[in-house]
Symmetry: C2
Subunit: 345 residues, 2 copies
């Protein structure tokens, strides 16, 4: 026992210890751990036994240094505080875990500067690849990642004009389909409560989706009463209050997501405005919240779990083969529930 580990008395076994104990070379031990097929059964058994008796576990830094990769993927989501991204991230993590990849999650709080910062942090932490939400960000970020050879997968958005790998859905078309449903019922005065559109392509696309539908129904898209506010139930409630105080109240309020919609619903209840008789409200995402409120929220179902696990699949593919898969478009689905009805005449 003549190691020179200074103060902290921590003498963890190393590859060399295992090799010695099993009477093989370090290379063989390494192979047993990384590509067992290359090692003879008998040798392997001996080595694995040594591993367990010594309680060996590889040193992360050393491995990362020598292999030039960490087996870690970073994801930056706008927020962890509500359920919007939770389900997808959970599925994403599970699928990555099955492939021996660890997920590092960070959140940007919907701030572009914050996100840029997190990108740098994750790369500095050795993320082999990144999963980001939406395409819309400073091109410098993409250049930085390119230069460092860190592949990126964009998720939550499908935009055929963007060539980079992506898995998502067509926010504009999905919202347009929902708005079409609203307009077909005869609503003419339309309100919309959206997330802040700056730096958020999903929010912008959803707004445009509503305008598309208005055009298709012969309405002036400029007549859309639009309020932008950060995502939160409270903000949705506040925006709704403003909207309902206006002289010509909309008869239908389309919300950029379920969280805002639930806030709007809350305000309607407080103001004694009946939903859907006096005002219809719709959401987007179909998170659990949507079916918990009464009446249940009409919304657009997003295949969160599938998006999560497919994202993992794509990323693992990108890392393994160095390939650049084409963008994947998932289908969304209209959920017609209690908060939408024809305007009362």
């Amino acid at each position: 026992m003549n190691r020179k580990l200074s103060d902290t008395y921590r003498n963890l076994p190393t590859l060399a210890d295992v090799a010695r104990s099993a009477g093989v070379s370090t290379a063989t031990v390494s192979r047993c751990l990384n590509s067992p097929a290359q090692v003879q059964q008998a040798t392997r058994d001996r080595v694995l036994e040594a591993v367990t008796t010594l309680g060996y576990s590889p040193n992360f830094g050393a491995r990362a240094l020598a292999a030039r990769r960490t087996g870690t993927i970073g994801a930056i989501i706008p927020t962890m505080e509500n359920a919007i991204f939770a389900r997808a991230i959970q599925a994403f993590q599970e699928a990555l875990h099955e492939n021996g990849v660890t997920l590092l999650v960070a959140s940007s709080s919907y701030s572009p500067e914050n996100e840029a910062d997190q990108v740098r942090t994750l790369v500095a932490r050795g993320a082999d690849a990144l999963m980001l939400i939406g395409h819309d960000r400073d091109p410098g970020i993409y250049e930085f990642l390119e230069r460092r050879g860190v592949p990126v997968l964009v998720s939550w958005a499908y935009d055929p004009t963007q060539a980079r790998p992506a898995i998502g859905f067509d926010n504009r078309r999905a919202m347009s389909a929902l708005a079409d449903e609203v307009l077909r019922l005869g609503h003419v005065r339309i309100g919309m409560i959206s997330a802040l559109a700056a730096g958020n392509d999903r929010a912008r696309d959803r707004i445009e989706g509503v305008r598309d539908a208005m055009r298709a129904h012969g309405l002036d898209p400029q007549s859309l009463h639009l309020i932008e506010t950060p995502y939160s139930i409270g903000n949705g409630a506040e925006a709704m209050a403003g909207m309902m105080a206006a002289p010509a109240r909309p008869t239908a309020v389309i919300c950029g997501n379920d969280v805002l919609a639930v806030g709007a619903l809350q305000t309607a209840r407080q103001m004694g405005i009946h939903v859907p008789r006096e005002v219809s409200i719709t959401g987007f995402d179909d998170i659990e919240l949507a079916t918990v409120v009464a009446p249940a929220l009409t919304t657009v179902h997003v295949p969160h779990r599938e998006m999560g696990w497919q994202a993992a699949r794509l990323l693992v593919e990108m890392l393994g083969g160095g390939v650049t898969p084409p963008p994947v478009c998932l289908e969304t689905e209209l959920c017609l529930r209690g908060t939408l009805a024809a305007p009362s005449k």
Copy 2:
């Protein structure tokens, strides 16, 4: 340019490149980055300039290997799918980030085996320390961490009989206070919908809290109609349906957390049972959901954000000084809202 980087053309600058470019040794560059105070202003400026012009960023693996730490802390929470842990984790992450520490989050899906697996994964990923929820787990896990010199902080639970570092609240006392409030209103037939108690000390403590209150009010704790079920709105709803179908319905149903309570509320609504006139329902945690439902949920407020950031503070302390801080107990608060009332006679 005579590097031997094989196929992938990726020639990122190294410490040595920076040193050469700035005309100093690698040691000096390292110091500039890690303890700038030790370097003369002029030298430092020169080095930092070289860093930016070369676009240098340290290699994670190399740094981890040489420094024998990664600057990463792992957290394992039971689930990311609902908001119970979201707020605390968000605060935890923010506070760690401010201290230059990166958070690695994993979830166990409330499965002990899964958790044990994640512990090993996180340690293998180089986590310098771990944050776990609750004390209750196989002692082997604590031994494993001890042997590897990985400090642990338990959170979400305060149990004075456990010596290890912890930050949480007294689940038993908090639930007892809530149950006391219920019983004081005159409820006698009490139901409880709890999370699975096996391997979950928080759930067990909350059940005992209810029983404590019953004893204090002269009721037989055995008369508590208890149903255990995994956390989810759907399961809460189902348990409630079973409970309301029983011959002698409880007049108050105490739920182990808000998620279950919201499910119970949903069932009551569907069955046309008025809350709180015909049955009172209470939750625990005070997540956003609690105020979104109607009537709003009577529950126990848990200081999630504070728990998160204090956990970060403690962990940073433990890593820095090698100290073992004593357990910290936070206060919870009763939130009396619409779902609780005296039983109708």
